[in-house]
């Protein structure tokens, strides 16, 4: 054979390689308005009981429905359950289900589906959320329209759990048919929600089509269904700049997070709608009390006095946030206004004085403080992110000014949580988003150690009040218990609450966005319209 022919063989080979990706299906079509949502991360799985990833919630709300829905004022409204009755002892919940609801596959929805979903969830090995409903003892479905939950102990936050994305109601037939593959792709998902999964290219896009039969939207929307939008494309763009640019050039119409440093520029340009909202969130630095010298209240208090929250809000949040006195924001039910009087205001000279009096001496001006031969040096665990990248150097510089050495060590998310669980940290930076004051139980109940109670806080009094907050059927008693816990936490300076951040989303001008449903953002997208 001539060399030339052989060369053509290799050229042919290269061309075949090039053509191979062509076998993958092309772009989706659709005549009704197509809405592209530029998201920050990919859904892990569409089996809601197997993930707590924030990104998974975006798609879960579209494909599935929950028993109850969460309104913007943090009250619970009907959804698949038309109404519910709670027994006086708080241990029995009786839900009456809506009639006329159908699965996307066509089968009518009944109470047996709810019972199946909750029973599966409670017993599912490896469900990261199943312990949230561990209070449920049995689930009964006495007739197709009724579901009864019997609890072991009263659980004041049960409805909150049932409104979450992980409580989406599943179709038993679909789950059993797909088995372990449930929720991993088209044809392996069934819901009662307003949108149907049509295509899913992982890490690129998820295409959902309107469910034309949907008529049972929760009353938190003006439109109960079907949705105005014909097709929703959830497009993953992990980098901030291209994601924002995608909305600007019209490749997408909405992005759920605008980096704070871009807000001013976008507002000036005026080409996009910027929608600001305040959900319940707190960014904080936690102390591990089991590590010396953080067992010393004086040191914790000094650090609290020594951190300038306003500078952090200016530096890392570009002014988009409020200084936090404690974990609960002012609008959270259960917030105690007395916190303002005992909170630690920025006062570096007081911080220095406390440390001096406590025996932490600076060998020379500007040096690290020492007591009993030990330097005041703290290992600071954190995970990178746009805000954290700025908070850490600010805190480091601030504390160095007090004579405290901070040794930051950043870890990516998984390793970060593993290290916290192993208790490697002296202090750590974390943010929390929540819907009720039960976040206090989450962090400070002694049984929540080693995580999420990463503070080593084990205090019988705190435990007593937290138990009341969950099991008491008297709302007044519960709120009083929350207030008591807040007082204990602030007095003991268990953490440095930094900021309640304001969120900003960007939408193209032709998108009608009547409401942002707090952390759930667009929620079921029923009222969205493209002009």
């Amino acid at each position: 054979m001539q060399p030339r022919d052989r060369l053509f063989v290799s050229v042919f080979l290269a061309l075949t390689l090039l053509a191979m990706p062509a076998l993958v299906s092309g772009a989706p079509g659709g005549s009704a308005p197509t809405f592209t949502y530029a998201r920050t991360g990919e859904t892990e799985t569409l089996d809601p009981e197997k993930t707590t990833a924030v990104a998974s919630a975006e798609a879960d709300f579209l494909i599935y429905d929950t028993l109850v829905s969460l309104d913007t004022d943090y009250t619970y409204k009907p959804s698949l359950a038309e109404k519910w009755v709670i027994s006086p002892d708080g241990k029995t919940y009786t839900f009456t289900l809506r009639s006329g609801v159908r699965w996307q596959s066509g089968k009518p929805f009944t109470s047996a589906d709810v019972k199946y979903t909750l029973d599966r969830w409670r017993t599912l090995k490896g469900s990261p959320s199943s312990f949230a409903i561990s209070a449920i003892d049995t689930v009964d479905a006495p007739n197709p329209q009724t579901v009864v939950l019997h609890l072991k102990t009263p659980l004041s936050v049960l409805l909150d759990g049932l409104a979450g994305p992980f409580s989406s109601i599943l179709n038993p037939d679909a789950v059993q048919k797909a088995d372990a593959d449930y929720g991993t792709g088209v044809g392996k998902v069934d819901g009662t929600g307003p949108f149907i999964l049509r295509e899913w290219v992982r890490n690129d896009r998820m295409v959902l089509a309107r469910n034309p039969d949907y008529r049972w939207g929760p009353p938190v929307f003006k439109n109960q269904g079907p949705a105005h939008l014909g097709t929703v494309i959830l497009k993953v763009i992990t980098q901030d700049a291209p994601r924002l640019a995608a909305v600007q050039v019209g490749e997408a119409q909405y992005t759920p997070s605008v980096p704070p440093q871009e807000v001013d520029r976008l507002a000036k340009e005026g080409t996009l709608q910027l929608i600001r909202y305040q959900d319940l969130n707190t960014e904080f630095i936690g102390f591990k009390l089991g590590h010396k010298p953080l067992d010393d209240l004086k040191v914790r208090q000094a650090i609290n006095y020594g951190i300038n929250k306003r500078e952090i809000i200016a530096g890392a949040y570009y002014g988009l946030g409020e200084p936090a006195d404690e974990v609960l924001g002012r609008s959270t039910p259960g917030y105690w206004s007395g916190v303002e009087k005992i909170a630690y205001d920025y006062d570096p000279s007081r911080a220095k004085r406390i440390l001096d009096e406590d025996g932490w001496k600076q060998p020379s001006p500007g040096a690290i403080r020492v007591k009993d031969g030990k330097p005041l040096s703290l290992l600071f665990l954190w995970t990178p992110g746009p805000e954290a990248n700025s908070i850490v150097p600010l805190v480091q510089a601030e504390l160095r000014g007090l004579g405290i050495e901070v040794r930051p060590r950043s870890l990516e998310l998984t390793a970060f949580f593993a290290a916290l669980r192993a208790g490697e940290h002296d202090i750590f930076l974390i943010g929390v988003q929540y819907t009720t004051a039960d976040v206090l139980y989450f962090y400070f109940k002694s049984t929540q150690r080693p995580a999420p109670n990463r503070f080593d806080w084990a205090d019988p009094e705190t435990d007593k009040y937290l138990d009341i907050s969950r099991t008491s059927t008297s709302e007044t008693e519960r709120m009083a218990a929350y207030q008591k816990v807040q007082e204990i936490i602030v007095n003991n300076a268990l953490w440095v609450p930094l900021v309640h951040a304001k969120r900003v989303v960007a939408a193209s001008k032709n998108l009608v966005v009547p409401k942002i449903y707090n952390a759930n953002q667009l929620y079921k997208m029923l009222d969205l319209e493209l002009k």
């Binding site: 700049a241 440093q261 530096g315 990248n389 510089a397």
Partner: protein, 304 residues
């Protein structure tokens, strides 16, 4: 007796080296080399850049305008000026001072990871080239390492050890080993073919002595060239690791990590990304010039 014979061969060895190098007289070899080194414009530019870099690293505390980690939120995003030659970043930190301190980090990365790779790689390469029975097992292991595209191996190792500057150095070092082994091994093959080694063996010179006195000096030019170019490669890979968050962690002023931070502010403050990237660029350019120039000067036949 044995000592005397060894010395005979020692005298003979440089002569053989010269024969390899084009049959010049032994005395003029060094002069030729020096002339070639001095004449090469690549070496001159490369050496200038590298020495400036070393100077910068050594004098970092004196050159820095301010403490590179000191934030000043009121004066963020400032363009280059007299007070801040490279401007300030998103927290108002002085970029010039960060770049200056970053030179220490990049040089350390380059030297340590190449140091690790060279010591392990040269040892393995020499063993593989010198002892036939070790050649096969060593090259099998190297084949396995070579089956990973370089960055993938580094990423996997960093994934295992956890992202940090130190681990990035180890990862880059390990992923540079195969290159050293291959080059050193083939260089040893070339040297081994010379008869004087057989002669040395025949008169009972120990293997260790043959390795240290005859083989290593003869392959030193390959090692120096590979190491110089390897430093450039190591700095580049480490910067890439830092850029995807697997290397140096903020607020460490490593250039790749600085560029990673700056990419969020490209619209507002392009200079924040420009200067660290320019620093990487110039550094790599310097080491590449130096390496290429050395290669041409030390052994013209190696020129590719």
């Amino acid at each position: 007796m044995a000592t005397a014979r060894e010395d005979d061969i020692l005298i003979a060895a440089p002569a053989l080296q010269v024969v390899q190098d084009g049959a010049r007289r032994a005395g003029s070899y060094r002069a030729t080399l020096a002339r070639r080194l001095g004449k090469s414009w690549q070496i001159r530019i490369g050496a200038t850049i590298v020495s400036l870099l070393v100077l910068t690293a050594a004098l970092a505390p004196r050159l820095a305008v301010t403490d590179p980690t000191l934030p000043d939120v009121m004066h963020r995003y400032q363009g280059p000026s007299g007070a801040h030659p490279f401007g300030t970043d998103n927290l108002g930190r002085d970029i010039f001072s960060q770049v200056v301190y970053g030179s220490r980090i990049s040089l350390t990365i380059g030297l340590i990871s190449v140091g690790v790779a060279a010591s392990v790689g040269v040892a393995l390469g020499v063993l593989a080239g010198f002892y036939r029975r070790l050649d096969d097992p060593i090259m099998r292991v190297i084949d396995v390492l070579l089956a990973f595209p370089g960055l993938l191996l580094a990423i996997a190792i960093v994934g295992a050890l956890g992202p940090s500057l130190q681990n990035a150095m180890i990862a880059v070092g390990i992923s540079t080993i195969p290159g050293f082994v291959r080059i050193v091994r083939s260089a040893v093959f070339r040297v081994r073919a010379n008869e004087y080694l057989d002669a040395a063996r025949a008169v009972g010179v120990r293997d260790s002595r043959i390795l240290l006195r005859y083989i290593l000096p003869n392959i030193s030019s390959e090692i120096i060239v590979t190491a110089t170019l390897g430093i450039a490669g190591a700095i580049l890979v480490a910067a890439a690791l830092s850029f995807i968050g697997l290397g140096a962690q903020p607020p460490t002023p490593e250039w790749g990590a600085m560029a990673n931070l700056a990419k969020d502010y490209l619209d507002i403050a392009p200079h924040q990304a420009f200067f660290p990237i320019a620093a990487i660029f110039v550094t790599i350019l310097g080491f590449n010039f130096l390496g290429d120039g050395l290669r041409d000067a030390l052994d013209p036949r190696l020129y590719r």
